[in-house]
Amino acid sequence: MNPALAGVALAVVLGGVIAASARNARTAVLGLILAVVGGAFVAEPLPDSVGLAARLVGAVLAGYLLWIAGRDADARTGGSRLGWPTELLVAGAAAVVGYGSHGLGAPAAGPALAQAAGFALAALAVAPVFNGRDVMRIGLGLSLLASGVILVRTGLGGTPDALEQLVFAGLVAVLGGVVAALAVAARTDGLAGFDMTVAPGERVRRRPDARPVDPR
């Protein structure tokens, strides 16, 4: 095992734990940035400079936009209801499963650590994505999920080429930008926080601006 790669993979998982468990929005965004930036380096061999630069730019751009969305010091997101130790254990267990099942039935072209980190991020994303109650937390969960599956793809198929890295970077940046736009829209309607309007399963009222009705 490459110790440097193991260190980066560990940092990615720790970033994911912070993103999934922190209640302060900016702390969670910092964790996400750590996970996404680190994820670009969990490959063997490392991507070429163009691909790596694209990944870093995409990750930083996404993180910056999310950082803006959580600009107030009191911007709170849901965080983990069970606490970070539980999230750490979940991530650790998933990483062990990912490492142990490297290749998923056939020899893989990428490092086992990438699959381990990918499984960990995907496991951390489950609670926010399916049980999140605020826009920022669900968005962070979706970013973790996307980053996780990119790592799994790297673990299975080897280091992606420059064009694929560019597409990854685009996905991360667009996802971060759209989540940030939605988070800002949620926060600026007069109420504090990123909370969704209603519980999952309920319908929301139609905004008049969607289909403005003018008198004939």
């Binding site: 070429d48 163009v50 998923l104 039935g105 056939a106 020899p107 893989a108 994505v129 826009v135 669900i138 968005g139 979706l142 999920l145 996307a146 599956v149 990119i150 799994v152 793809r153 299975l156 198929g157 080897g158 992606p160 080429d161 420059a162 064009l163 694929e164 560019l166 597409v167 990854f168 996905l171 667009v174 996802l175 759209v178 736009a181 939605l182 988070a183 829209a185 949620a186 926060r187 600026t188 309607d189 007069g190 109420l191 909370d195 969704m196 309007t197 209603v198 319908r203 929301v204 009222r205 139609r206 905004r207 601006d209 969607a210 289909r211 403005p212 009705v213 003018d214 008198p215 004939r216």
Partner: protein, 497 residues
């Protein structure tokens, strides 16, 4: 180079329209100008072009060009329709970004990268759910849209990554191929909002303007579906694995979408939900192509998807135009719309022809081929009848339109009203004329898009030929599989149980 030009135009104008969106007319001009420029750039794409970037590449094709031309025209029409309706959502920006990403999705030669681009393309539509200023309700709907898009993308990326390598030393039962196939098929179903994955689409119709609904749903999902279909044909079909159970699941989803969406559209009380469910129903037909797993279905599927995008966009524009003319989207309050708005009636008739079709029409033949290749036996006859279920909701809309209108008629209300040009104040003249003709503009755009829909459904512009051809990039990377149980690749289906 021509493909790169299109990318620059689409993304450049999308960024420009986003940055100027707070500047009233300037933002509008940049957005609409961008869509016109995108249409021209799409026409200029050379179908035989290949753009190499590192080890990967972007390959243009006739289908890519046709999809982008149609998408740009449809986007332009819908943006004008949205403007006439008075919505302040960023329709042009989102359309341009979606088209730019669609061009990447359809041109990337590696399906693993293409499906990621297809996922990114679906994200922009969520912005249409959000109004200017604070909009917590819209953000709540938008994040659910994102959730569906990212989950679908994750499933497809994982399956394609698993298959996209040398599997000659696979140590797993062949059922894993079925799981990979099912993951991609379900991902496409989720993206199309097929029943039972339709809740996010149903909610989206509560927040997105009529004119934006096709952008957020089918225009973004269609390239993703084309990639999924291409991958299934290239990677799964040649393996000769018995996928009876998995195909049955996807078939059930497809048929449920076709039938239940038509029923849902009939019982809905507002136009936008009828439009939403009509999209879901037609998407069910597209899913039949994945059930078929037959290269024979490749061309018809892409023909159908192209016709679906244009036809349902025209239907949405018709709904937006009717809402604009009558000040309501409640169907029961639209009595006499056929009599009061002949232009809308013309658009409606063309949309019905384009979506239902008749023998000889390219979309009709494509749909028939998809049913025939996906389903055997007497059940196929039932599905052939089921795909005509939209007759029910079209009939209801027509019946309402033919009833006696409420209140006295407004003579000439549906005609254009143009005052003599005032050369001393042309700006004022333009504003007055625009305001007086918003309803007419909505109906006119709907009629033009409906005409385009009939053309697309009829196979104009070389649609079926372009749909049947492969990209110049050649076959996509596929799994290399040699069954472990024999030295020679077997020609018999590998049982999954």
């Amino acid at each position: 180079m021509s493909l790169a030009t299109y990318l620059v135009v689409a993304f450049g104008f999308a960024a420009g329209a986003w940055l100027t969106r707070g500047h009233g007319t300037v933002g509008t001009v940049v957005g609409l100008g961008g869509l016109v420029a995108a249409t021209i750039a799409a026409i200029a794409i050379r179908p035989d072009e290949m753009l190499l970037i590192g080890e990967g590449g972007l390959a243009a094709s006739a289908y890519l060009r046709l999809f982008l031309v149609m998408g740009s025209l449809v986007g332009l029409g819908l943006a004008i329709s949205g403007l006439a309706a008075g919505t302040r959502r960023d329709l042009s920006t989102v359309t341009l970004a979606t088209l730019g990403i669609a061009s990447l999705t359809l041109s990337l030669t590696d399906p693993r990268a293409a499906v990621i681009a297809g996922t990114a393309g679906g994200l922009c539509g969520a912005l249409l759910a959000v109004g200017r200023g604070g909009d917590r309700a819209g953000a709540s709907i938008g994040i659910r849209d994102l959730r569906a898009v990212v989950i679908a993308g994750t499933m497809a990326v994982a399956a394609m990554a698993w298959m996209g390598r040398d599997l000659s030393r696979l140590d797993a039962p062949p059922v894993v191929f079925g799981l990979a196939y099912l993951a991609v098929a379900l991902a496409v179903a989720i993206r199309f909002g097929a029943i039972p994955f339709h809740l996010w689409v149903a909610r989206l119709t509560d927040a997105v303007p009529d004119a934006g609904l096709p952008i957020a749903t089918i225009l973004a999902a269609a390239p993703f579906a084309v990639v999924g279909l291409s991958w299934a044909d290239a990677s799964i079909a040649p393996l000769l694995v018995d996928l009876g159970t998995e195909r049955g699941v996807v078939l059930a989803i497809a048929v449920a979408s076709i039938v239940l969406a038509a029923i849902a559209a009939v019982i809905q009380d507002d136009l936008e939900h009828v439009v939403g469910y009509s999209i879901v129903g037609d998407a069910g037909v597209a899913l039949l192509a994945i059930v078929a797993l037959d290269p024979e279905a490749w061309g018809p599927a892409r023909t159908w998807i192209l016709a679906l995008v244009v036809t349902r966009s025209a239907f949405a524009a018709w709904a937006a135009g009717l809402r604009l003319s009558f000040g309501t989207g409640r169907i029961v309050e639209l009595r006499g719309w056929v009599i009061r708005s002949p232009l809308s009636a013309l658009a409606f008739g063309l949309v019905v022809v384009a979506s239902l079709g008749f023998p000889g029409l390219a979309a009709f033949e494509a749909r028939s081929t998809l049913v025939a290749t996906a389903i055997d036996g007497p059940f196929a006859a039932l599905v052939v009848v089921a795909v005509l279920a939209p007759v029910a909701y079209y009939g209801r809309l027509l019946a309402v339109g033919l009833r006696r209108p409420d209140g006295p008629p407004e003579p000439g209300a549906w005609r254009p009203r143009v005052a003599p040009v005032n050369l001393t104040a042309p700006g004022e003249w333009w504003r007055t004329t625009w305001e007086a003709n918003r309803a007419f503009t909505g109906a006119l755009v709907a009629a033009l898009l409906a005409l385009l829909a009939v053309s697309a459904a009829g196979g104009a512009f070389g649609g079926p030929e372009a749909a049947a051809a492969a990209a110049v990039g050649g076959p996509a990377p596929t799994a290399t599989l040699v069954p472990l149980s024999s030295e020679e690749p077997s020609s018999e289906p590998i049982p999954t149980e």
